[in-house]
Structures are given as C-alpha cells and as structure tokens.
Assembly symmetry: C2
Homo-oligomer: 186 residues x 2
DNA sequence: ACACTATAGTTTCATCTGAAACTATTTGCA
DNA sequence: TGCAAATAGTTTCAGATGAAACTATAGTGT
C-alpha cells in the first residue's frame, strides 16, 4: 500500500555509530541558523537538535493546539475526534477500517467509538453480511460537531502553514513523505 | 529564550475558515506528488493530508522506533531516556531545569527522576544553597547506559535522515524551526 | 457437517498520564 | 523581623493507554 519506489539507503546509514569527517562541520556551521542538518559528527546527543525529539515536541504542541478546539467545547478526546474526522466523509466505515486509516490502536478506536455512540455522535449498525462488523456513520449531532470542528481545525492548520511559502509547503510535504517512508521501514 | 524575530502572519491566517480561489487548486494539483501544500481550498478534512495528523503519526513511528532501542534492553521509559539524555552532558541540572529543556511535564520528570534514582542510573544531591532543589548527575551505571544508548539513537536518526540529501536536511531543519515557532504562538 | 484458522471487536490488567492539590523552602517586601 | 507570594518537587486522583487474552462470527479445507 505504501512506498513502491523507495530510494536506496547508502551503507553508512546502517552502521551503529557513523563517523564523519570533522571538516564538514565547520562548513555547515556557517550555514544560516540551521545546525545538525549535516551528518552528525559527534557522539554527543543534543536533544534540542535531535530529530525524533523535535518531531515529538512539535507534534505535541500542534496536537494540543488542535485539541483545544474540540476538547473544551465538545468534550472530545483526540481519538474520538479522529474517528469522527474519518467517518465523516466516509459513512459506513467499520471500526477496523478506521483503524487502518488512522493508524491508531484497535483498542483506542473501539473505546472512542463506544463513547461516540453513547454521546450520540455516531450510529453503529450491524453489517447484514458479516455480523462481526458494525457500520459507523455520523448522526445529525455528529454532523453538527463535524461541521463546526473541521473548519476550525483547518484554520489552525493554515495558521501553522502560513509561516511557510507555497514552495516551502510543497517541500515540507515531500520531506514528511520521505521521512514517513524511512520511518516506516524502521 | 525562543523566537526573537518572527515573521508576521498575514491576516487571512487568523480567520476561522479561510477561503481561497478555486483557480489555485488545479494549478497545484499538477505539481508533482505533493497535494495539500497549497492553501486548503476545501472545508473537507482529509486526515491523511492534514499536517497535525501527519506530524503525529510520523512522530509516533519515530518515537517507538527509538524506544525499541532503550525499552527492551535497558527497561527505560521515554521520559527516563530523555532525562538521562539531558542530564548526561550537563551534570548538576535540577529537575526543573530538565523540565525546561525537555518541555516535558513536571510530574513526568519527577517520576522519571525517581525511577532513575531507584535504578541507580542517576544520583540526587540536595543543593546546598537552596534546599528545595536537587542536583542530578549520572552515576557510573547511568553513564554506561548513556554511552550505549546515545550512539544507537544517533544511528537511528541517521537512518531516518539518510533518505534526505544534505540540502533536504537543511531545509527540514529550517521548516521544523518555522513550524515550531508558529506552533509556539498557538 | 466438522475442525481449523482468521478476523472483528471487546474486556482485562497493569502502566502511564497530567491537572490540581499539597509540602517545604526561599524570596520579596513592608 | 515577619508575612505574603513564588518556586521546587511530590502526591493524589481520575482518566487514557496498549498488550494480551477473550468472544463471536466468518472463511477454508476435508
């Protein structure tokens, strides 16, 4: 489903403790604000420039900003919000299809669906062909929430992206795809 | 401490539901693989192209890959690993300085420190000037863990980054900085 | 029809999480 | 000095989390 033609990773990437020429460092240091964009020459770890850490902090910041949209006003958790967001445009999805699309945990989805059903935001109807499955769709109330939260979420995304030029955004998109593939193959 | 000269966000970024010319869409659609790098013209949300979601998925993937380095072999949780990683190069930090540097929760840090002290990876010594504070530093065992985990973590970072050209990495660094700033001002 | 395997979804359990309240100490100021 | 406010760190509590076990249904081969 993902990544057909992936670039080949050169050998040094797989070595446990890569070493690099010192000479490359000073050249890169002069390059603008950016540091650590060049191959890591040290075996010291500076958390603030460590990519996994930076991703985590950024992601948490953004997630909690998004959460502030739906958490207070609609008493939705992140998992519930995501389930809602996925079911909205695709009524009739099953829970496991939601799992596929959101990459969330099966248990988390199950519980989120439960809560959403209880709070009358989605309906759950047993599939007639396969009684293990349930088809999920938004209720009128669910659509109302969806209609309110989605524009706010998109607006927040825009507030993030508006610091980037159109070219930057395209670049970001490409880089995230590349990193996603790289991360996918562990 | 962060962000002195930040770019000004143009007005539409603050509007709750930005609208854009339809005409921009088709032009951008032709642009390579990338979609959604252009201003969102629709009020539909496609989770897979939604930046906050992509960041979250990527970050989780990467985090769990990193975790597999230290979790199994050293019985470290993510918070403990981070505390270790921060204290390592800066012996004598206090817990709240760790909080500042890691952007982690105060409680999480407190508990991580507790566990690390119990497992003899760090020592905690009351500050002589301020008896509320404790100075934290790695023990011999802590240094051993640090010395083993850090290279593995850096190697993993390299495996991620090796799908990017040097120019890409610099670009990534810049974009993450920009997004970080944007996220920081909510 | 029967047994075996796979899949959908739920429950259990042990752990992690963070907001709020709390203790202890220091700092600011009258 | 002495008292109010701030700070460092811990505890409490209520909920979120995910691995593993479980239930129920469907598919597959004999």
């Amino acid at each position: 489903m993902v990544g057909i033609g992936m670039p080949i990773c050169s050998s040094f990437c797989l070595s446990p403790a890569p070493t690099f020429k010192e000479s490359e460092l000073t050249a890169a240091e002069t390059a603008n604000v950016a540091t650590r964009t060049d191959p890591a020459p040290q075996s010291e770890l500076d958390l603030e420039h460590f990519l996994p850490y930076r991703l985590s902090v950024l992601s948490n910041l953004v997630s909690s900003a998004i959460a502030s949209i739906y958490a207070e006003r609609y008493a939705l958790g992140m998992t519930e919000w995501r389930v809602l967001a996925v079911i909205g445009p695709s009524p009739g999805l099953t829970a496991s299809e939601v799992v596929e699309r959101t990459a969330m945990d099966k248990v988390a989805v199950s519980r989120a669906v439960d809560r959403l059903v209880k709070s009358e935001r989605i309906s759950r109807r047993e599939d007639s062909n396969d009684r293990r499955r349930s088809r999920l769709r938004l209720t009128r109330q669910g659509r109302a929430v969806y209609a309110q939260v989605v524009p706010a979420a998109l607006a927040l995304e825009q507030r993030l992206l508006c610091s980037l030029s159109p070219a930057d955004r395209q670049e970001l998109d490409r880089l995230l795809d590349l990193l996603g593939e790289a991360a996918h193959r562990l």
